[in-house]
């Protein structure tokens, strides 16, 4: 009878690998997830205010070299207003571009993580699925082997009984052959079996 199957656990190497992986995952979650959330909240920093303030300061610095002639020029204020407006517009546009870029970078990174996570889940599902399959296959194989073994035993028993004449001479004759009915059974008897470990062996005569 074969030994009973034992459930095999992960090897020491696998356990260590998994430990390192979980530790790295914990580190990632504690440190990098926080960073990604900060990046998500980048819009709250109102980067536009900073850029617009800088743009307005630039305009004032460039155009504040006032003179008597400049102050008397009728369209000087209009030019200055247009310059300020133009610069503020550029600053606002750049700020929006930066905020949007940060937002899409954040989403892209978060999605990539999510994508990795779901791919991991499907891998986990695959492992479970193949485990279940293997279990079912093995169970079925064992059941079939039991049935086959029982059938073989039964057949051998019936054959033996038949050859011994339990079902009558006719059946014994069918198994052993017509010529061996009385003296020469086709199934060898166990007594007088040649000894395979004997030096002389079958066919040799011992010299006395």
């Amino acid at each position: 009878m074969g030994a009973k199957a034992k459930k095999v656990g992960p090897s020491r190497t696998e356990q260590l690998e998994a430990s390192v992986a979980v530790d790295r995952q914990n580190f990632f979650r504690q440190n990098y997830n926080k960073l990604l959330k900060e990046q998500r909240n980048f819009g709250d920093k109102k980067v536009g205010n900073m850029l617009r303030g800088r743009a307005a300061a630039d305009v004032q610095q460039q155009l504040s070299n006032s003179s008597y002639g400049e102050s008397m020029r009728s369209d000087a204020a209009g030019d200055s207003a247009n310059a300020l407006l133009g610069n503020l517009g550029v600053a606002s546009t750049n700020a929006t571009a930066i905020e949007n870029r940060m937002a899409t970078n954040t989403i892209g990174t978060a999605q990539q993580q999510a994508s990795d996570a779901t791919t991991g889940l499907s891998a986990a599902a695959r492992i479970s699925s193949s485990d279940a399959l293997n279990r079912a296959k093995n169970k079925q194989m064992v059941a079939q082997a039991k049935l086959n073994a029982g059938a073989q035993l039964a057949t051998a028993g019936v054959m033996r009984a038949g050859s011994e004449g339990l079902f009558g001479n006719k059946v014994a004759g069918a198994i052993n052959g017509p010529s061996t009915l009385s003296s020469k059974p086709s199934v060898p008897l166990l007594q007088n079996k040649p000894n395979p470990y004997s030096i002389a062996g079958p066919g040799y005569r011992t010299v006395t």
Partner: protein
């Protein structure tokens, strides 16, 4: 560490060297991947939805231009008045009227110009944002199709293996019965 699935999937106690003990790597993988996805849903999904909405409806730059134009004109006029008073300049009524008209004209034109520029810039920014989001969405679409494909393939494999096993079992049983029957017939 908390377990998002509400069950103990793997041992999180720590060994001597400070690493977590993982007795069931399969369960650990399932827990970690599930937790990562739930993190995304909790922390980033609403943000993503807001950005999608923003890419279609944002008018921030145009609104800002409407706000900025009168303020810029007013600031410039105040600055010019300060310069005039600093230099003690006296404007004739005609000059003052001309200056006022000029300021009004440039103020209006400036506003129109600023708003038009803002509209163009807004359109460009919204389009860029939308394109970036669509690119991200394409990746999402691809990965989700791969996942569902993988799940379908798993199911198909399971069903096929079950059918094969059933057929094999039936054939084997029939073979055994046949052998037994043949043996029985032989004795009769």
């Amino acid at each position: 560490m908390e377990n998002v699935m509400g069950m103990v999937g793997y041992n999180q106690s720590r060994s001597n060297n400070g690493l977590p003990n993982v007795s069931d790597p399969k369960s650990a993988q399932a827990d970690i991947t599930y937790r990562q996805y739930m993190d995304y849903k909790k922390d980033f999904q609403q943000f993503e939805l807001d950005q999608i909405e923003k890419s279609q409806t944002d008018t921030g730059l145009i609104d800002q231009a409407f706000e900025d134009a009168p303020k810029a004109a007013e600031l410039s006029q105040q600055s010019q008045q300060r310069s005039l008073s600093r230099y003690g300049a006296e404007l004739t009524p005609a000059q003052a009227q001309q200056m006022q008209r000029s300021n009004q004209r440039t103020g209006k034109l400036g506003m129109i110009n600023a708003v038009q520029n803002a509209r163009l810039a807004q359109q460009e920014q919204n389009t860029t944002l939308m394109s970036d989001l669509i690119n991200i969405g394409q990746g999402l679409n691809r990965s989700s199709l791969q996942m569902i494909g993988s799940a379908a393939q798993n199911q198909s494999n399971r069903e096929q293996a079950y059918d094969n096993a059933k057929a094999q079992s039936k054939a084997s049983t029939m073979g055994t019965i046949g052998a037994l029957g043949a043996a029985a017939i032989m004795f009769l």
